[in-house]
Symmetry: D2
Subunit: 265 residues, 4 copies
């Protein structure tokens, strides 16, 4: 069965990858795109998309009403993403959304709407399947190892340390183990910061170097052994495997799922 | 509740670690040991065990009858291990067995016996919790990544390549993915062996260098990302966390479990 | 002092990076470019180079005669590269050449020419400073460790295994150590290929997975320790640091240097 | 030629490894040992050394006078090490010393003494050849990469962070590059310590986990590439390759050398 898809935000960096994904996947079909500009034109007329036939709509509601797609892939901004998600559900279109910024109240309201309409919806802050599995495995391993540290390595243009993924990983680990001060009780930093940041007793180390893209390793230590789970993201195509999985999965859901981890077994 | 334990093979390399484990664990008590020699003496009389109070039996049946322990930890040879396991079950003692060499028929017969006696038994070829988790995670990740390779690294005194753990890992992965030839269809080895061994299409690379102990990494590759699961075993104490877990778990079982992976969630 | 540069092959993948490098470097100036097409036009007229002011020549000799640059950066094909290098030297222009395919006779002839003209020239098959340092360090470490293995990891579109860099590394190591069979004398492959390819006794393992770009690690093993040297190339910008270094160095040379390793201390 | 060796401190952990080293090396001969106890006895009489024939002296001067060895290997305490080194030189015995605690004045005085006697002497705070090479390579690479971070990983019984080797590595790097603030100028730690300790602008991250022994990696980052140098020390035998090299080298020296790096090419 072919899944008919509308992409919102086709000209953004993620959007372009999504267009490529749909083009390359046999059972996916690009039914239309939603863009802030170029209403009524065809994507094929825009420079980098020559050959990609898809009508452009600036009005999402009209798009859903006329095109009646199966799935909306939304890779826009938090505000537009929220608006598109709600509209899609109202029109019976299953949303797969990669933007952040949904509040718990948003999620609750949209979940109710999905259930009323009896269709699926997937909202995920992180679509990199490898990163999501890393977090899932880390949470599982934490039951069997009392000690763990996180090292995340990014390019040196990143502003915040630790990364959001590192914090999320630490939080997932903290949920399944008793809080604990690691290291020797009398350990001393002769240079401040050597032992890293601590999230509920879990040390996090942030490396920032030109050359790196986005990498993280979670190291568990026990008597005579260590277990390391590492994810390397080399470019943004890493997100597309998760988008593909979400599009295929959302067809079989009847509720809203928040977080890719809940659709990975 | 204190768990009263008999150790078979206390003077072997693994046995000594098990004695240390029981000594260091508050709710474990060393009730007796089974040894080929020194019948009727006390472990404390043997050089390296001074201070470890435990009667020595050469006759396992008499040991179980007189001592009535909760658990037998057996770290002997395949033959002795098999004999002790059966005897323990007959006497209502829960066996935790780290020797290999059980046939499917042995396992079937012993499972029946455990169920008759309504007690637990755990037989595990590998007690390193980290290694078992690595295999478990690899099997899970294989559902989401079509391509994977295994690199195992051991000291240069190891005779066989690939390692048993690498083969077992490949086998677990092969169970959950369609068989597949990886790499470029036209790839060519200009030096034979460069692309490693293949188990059902999964390349395995065996590194042998002085310095290494026992290490393995499983690398999954997808568009723009890789996911790596690595286990490093630095010394044989790595097995003791699994033995401890097994002793604690076997008290709550009413059947035989083969493989540590089945008691890890 | 500003170095005036001509780039041959500006529209190729490496050429584009070189144009960007020259633009971004304060003491570099793009004097002209040599291209098979667009003679007499300006680079600024070509789509992706808008704003980059540089006259285009299809005739290299005329370019050198009229523009009188300090340095030629050549990132074309083996044949064109050879021809440009010779011409540049004749016109007193220092060549920095990243193409392969020079024979020992070519090198000898061009070296003589550079010395007659008393100017420098640098020809390098690999401009990634990190990769060249990895090989240099591997050669140095090989004097102190008798055992070494090489693991190289590339994307799964690569056709040949092992990679050229892995072979070159093995060759450099083989030059400074006695030939030797590594591993246990009685080791056995239960699956053929597990122990990798062998170059003069040095095992090489080639991993091919989607996601990877170009990576290599050289692992030395000794009693109780290992030393690992790893290079990760994430994109082709990695070559530009070497091109920059070569341009700066070639100004102070009076002979031809083959291989970046000879200008790294 | 056989090198006749006296070992001071044969019963310590390093001393025992040194005894084993001398036993296993064809052209080394254990002429005697210096110990605080057991004067006049033979090492063979002491429990763990059965079969190792070597007279025991408590008086170092008498030992050197009577035994006339070629080399002293001293693996005792800072105070005893200093005393033995001076005595050895006076008696024409070449010292190879693995203790720390020599002041610059001590080194100067002992260097003068070695030159008067026209014999070699080697004092090294770190005899692990791999660790010394890692530091040497890091210093070399620092000329070509402006950005670097150090991650050191040790068992969780270690009291100080960062490790001495990490600090020494940072210091060697700082000597050859301009001081620099790495990372984005506006980067922010949302959890204090995430970006590690800083030595002259070089971030150092200290990981402490059970299972680890002593490991360090130095990561250099540049445009599109990283270069990593990693040393893993799995047990104290890692020091013996350096002791062996020092014993062989000291025979050809006519002065004192401080630091193993100065005898590695």
């Amino acid at each position: 069965m072919t899944i008919r898809i509308v992409i919102a935000g086709p000209r953004g960096r993620m959007g372009r990858e999504a267009v490529a994904l749909v083009q390359q996947t046999d059972h996916f079909e690009l039914a239309a795109v939603i863009d802030r500009r170029y209403d009524g034109q065809n994507l094929a007329e825009i420079d980098r998309f020559s050959g990609v036939n898809a009508p452009i709509y600036t009005d999402a509601a009209r798009c859903f009403a006329e095109v009646k797609p199966d799935v909306l892939i939304d890779l826009t901004t938090p505000e537009a993403g929220k608006r598109h998600t709600e509209l899609a559900l109202r029109y019976g279109v299953r949303p797969v959304v990669g933007t952040t910024g949904f509040t718990p109240e948003d999620i609750e309201r949209l979940t109710k709407l999905a259930e009323e309409k009896e269709i699926g919806a997937i909202i995920a802050p992180n679509f990199a399947v490898g990163a999501v599995l890393m977090m899932k495995f880390a949470r599982m391993a934490a039951k069997y190892f009392t000690d763990v540290e996180i090292i995340e390595l990014h390019h040196d243009q990143k502003l915040d340390a630790p990364s959001g993924t590192a914090l999320k990983t630490a939080q997932l680990i903290a949920e399944v183990r008793p809080s604990k001060k690691q290291g020797h009780p009398n350990e001393k930093e002769t240079l401040a910061g050597a032992r890293g940041a601590a999230y509920d007793g879990i040390p996090i180390h942030s490396v920032r170097l030109p050359g790196f893209v986005a990498h993280q390793e979670v190291i568990f230590g026990g008597n005579g052994q260590t277990l390391t789970i590492r994810h390397d993201s080399f470019d943004r195509r890493s997100f597309m495997s998760g988008v593909k999985l979400a599009v295929e999965t959302v067809m079989h859901l009847h509720t809203l799922v928040y977080g890719l981890e809940h659709i990975l077994e």
